[in-house]
Symmetry: C2
Subunit: 239 residues, 2 copies
Amino acid sequence: MTSTNSNQIKYLGQEEAINIDKELFNEYGFSVDQLMELAGLSCAQAIYSFYPKGKVLVIVGPGNNGGDGIVAARHLQLFGFSPEILYPKPSKSDLMERLVKQTTLMNIPYLKSLPTNLDEFSLIVDAMFGFSFKPPIRDPFNDIIKTLQSHQKTLPVFSIDIPSGWHVEDGPPAASSSNDTPSIQPDSLISLTAPKLCAKHFQGRAHFLGGRFVPELLAKKYSLNLPEYPESNGFLRLQ
Amino acid sequence: MTSTNSNQIKYLGQEEAINIDKELFNEYGFSVDQLMELAGLSCAQAIYSFYPKGKVLVIVGPGNNGGDGIVAARHLQLFGFSPEILYPKPSKSDLMERLVKQTTLMNIPYLKSLPTNLDEFSLIVDAMFGFSFKPPIRDPFNDIIKTLQSHQKTLPVFSIDIPSGWHVEDGPPAASSSNDTPSIQPDSLISLTAPKLCAKHFQGRAHFLGGRFVPELLAKKYSLNLPEYPESNGFLRLQ
């Protein structure tokens, strides 16, 4: 496999994505700490490759997608960006609390709510919901996504794994659905491990793949048909 | 700071290195899983940048330096190298056992002893002892280092953090010491977090710095005067 043609790569359904994740932890003995560090790092590196340095708002959900976002924020700061974090529903998990501690002590500001001066940011990192998400979106994320939607022509969104508000398999809410189901069309998307089915509906500028840690046997078992990552990079561009 | 002149960077004594490590875990809330993943990845990336792909023997000690080595082996395999691991004194720590599980399931061979066909390998990764090491070296590491010493003109050694057998501050055993204290002069060295004092005695071809995770406040507190890492890279070359 040498091509990075995204037509060849497999797009995962939700159950398959959940099973691969479980297998990485239960069979292969990876810890969430390990894989989240690699996933979040690949997000930060993809952002570095595509966006100029600036003020970045990382919006963090309560689960592992949010954890990827906090790890990305930490690396972005080391890369010279100025990340700030909005984390409205803090989790009590030990890992999430440690991620908050690390970033707080690195002087990354935690905001209490979506700032009114949103245009001061050059990029939004959407780390709200990942591949375990099932609708409906609850507040305050519903309101946050509505606001991002109304700014998305001027303020690009980089989504981690799943554009928040999208169905993991079906993609954005149907045009016919009510206004109560907001969603965004991100400027860029990074799929972690392998793309999920919803990524077929992605219409932004750049689609990345990150999370270079999938053992070959696991990739074969699920016929992931992953493209080859270039050199020693932790991410690649699918489209 | 834009220079990577290694004269400006601080070389740490053993106690200071231990204190910085403790502070990363106890004050900043990092887990060993997180930092070992970043450290081992930076080792693999430095190796990728400097050596052609080939068969690599990673010699692993029982502590965290060994863990960095196993993580590096895992990433080297993903980068297209063919790593094999010699791990003569397995630790019972949960993390080390999981690292072995991950690499075993990725079909990285574990050797029972130093192979007689050592010249089939193109590189040795020395992950035996790190900055907590205090002499004497015990068997089987004593014998292993002696053998590496006798091959070092043809078989390059990449040492992680401390060239094994060296005193963390004073460097290689004095020429006047007996033959019972073997040591190697590695072809390349990667210092993690910051170089230790022994690195001043390094006479190989390339000295790398890795472990790009030190919070700015911590770097200031210990006056590490770290050079700027290039772009979004996890390592840089000091010399």
